[in-house]
Amino acid sequence: MKIKKTYYFFRSANRILFVRLIFPIVILFFLLITTPAFSQEEDLESLLEKEIEIKPELTIATFKSTRLINSHTIERMQKGDLDFRISHRFGEVNTGVYELFGLDYSSSYLAAEYGITDWLMTGIGRGTMQKTFHGFYKLSIIRQSSGKKSVPVSVSWMQGVSLNSLKWTNPERSNYFYSRLSYIHQLLIARKFNQKFSLQIMPVLVHRNLVHNKSDKNDLYALGTGGRYKLTNRLAVTAEFFYVHGLNNTSGINYYHPISIGMDIETGSHVFQLMITNSSGILENHFIGETTGDIFDGGFRIGFNISRVFTLKKTK
C-alpha cells in the first residue's frame, strides 16, 4: 500500500509536467555542475599547486661556520664532516711600529672538529695561550624550521673543558691537576631572520678551578650577543659582544668585555674569518675571563680563522 502511495504522484496529470519540465531542468543542472571541470582544464598550474603539500624544512646556514668570531654559533658539523681550523690573533695595534702594529706577536689555536651525527659534534684543539688543550661537544637541541609547524629559533648547547699545561709558577706549593682545568657551559640561541640577517644570543658560564688572584671569581657569567649580515652570497660582516658579570679589576691587570667585528669570506669548502678584536684568547675561558685590550686605547688586534671542511663520510 505504501508503494502505491509513493507512485501516486506519477500517475496523476503531474506526471507529464515532471517528464517534460522538471526532468530536463534536473538534467541541465547536473550538466552544469559537472561541466565546469572542462573549462578549468587550462590551469594545470593552480591545480598542481593545490595538490602538493609544502614540507617543513629545517633552516640551514644560519651562520657560515661553527664560530661567529670568537664565540661558537648554533651551527654544527654535519655527520661525517671534519673541520680543520686554524685561528690566529696578532698583537695589539697600539704597540706601534716597533712591533709592526702587533703583527710580530701571535696567539694561535689549532683544532680538529668532527660531526658525529647531524645534531652532535665534538672537537679537540691546542692553543698557544697558557699552552691550553681543549675539548668540547656541541649539541643541536632545537632547529629553526619553516612550514606548518614552524620553529622560530635554533638552540644549541656547548660544553667544553680547557687544560692549562704551563709549568707551575710555584712548584714548591702543593699543586693539583684539577687546578689546571676550566669548564665552559654555553647556551646558544639564534634566529635566521632572512637570507641575509641572523642574530644570536649566547649566555655562558665559565668556571675556573684556579684563578690568578684571591679577588678573582671562579665563576664568570656572561651574556653575549652577535650577528651576521650577508653582503653577497659569499661575503658577510659579523659582530659579537659579551657582557661579563663579575670581572675583577682590583688586582692590577684590567680586564674588559670582549668585543669583535669581523668578516666571513667563503670559498667553497674554506671559510676565512677576518676580525678585529680586543682579546688575544680564542677559547671561552680566555676571552671571557682574560680579555685585556682596551678598545678606547687602541687595544685591539687583527686576527683570522681559517676553516677547512673535509667530507670523510658521504651521506647515503
Partner: protein
Amino acid sequence: MNTLRVIFFSLMGIVLFHTTTYAQDKYICKTGHVYFISKTDIIDIDADNYNLASILNTKNGEVIFMIPMRGFKFKLPLAEEHFNENYIESEKYPQAKFKGKFINFDKIDFSKDGQQYVEVEGEMSIHGQTKKIKEAGIIEIRKGEIHAKSILKIALQDYGIKIPNLVINKVADIIDVKIDLKYEPFTK
C-alpha cells in the same frame, strides 16, 4: 515505473559519464625522481630529489612540472648547503617550474601500451629566471599508468647562476639532469 527507471539510469549515466571522462584526462605524479650531476675533472657533485610533482593532460598535451629545490639531497652535505645558499638561493626561489606542451601530440596515443617518443616545448623557470626550452623524452604506457623519462642539460648561465672564479674548476657549466616519473590517473 518504467519512466522512473529511465529517468534514474539516464541521470546516473550522465553523472558517471561526466566524472569519468574528467578523471581520465589528467594524470598526476607527486613523487617523481630528479637526478642531476655536475661533472668536472676535480669532483663530481650529484643529488637526488624524489619530490618532483607533475600533472599531464592527455586531452590537449599540456604538462607542468614543479620541483622543490630543498628536496635535492646531496651525498656531500656541504655541497647541499652551498647549492641552497649560494647557487640556487632556495629561500628566494623555492622551486623550479616547467610549463609546456607536447609538440608531437597528435602522434602520441595514450591508450596504447608501449614506449613512445615525445617532444616537449615550454618555459622552464629556475632561480627566478625563465627560458624557453625544447626537450625530448620517452613515454611508456603500462596498464593505465604513464611512465615518463627524459635526459636534459641545463646551462647554469641561462638561469643567472654564477660560479665564482675560485671554484670554477669544481662546478660544471652544464649540468646533466635526468627525470623519471610515474603518473597515475588524477581523480578529483
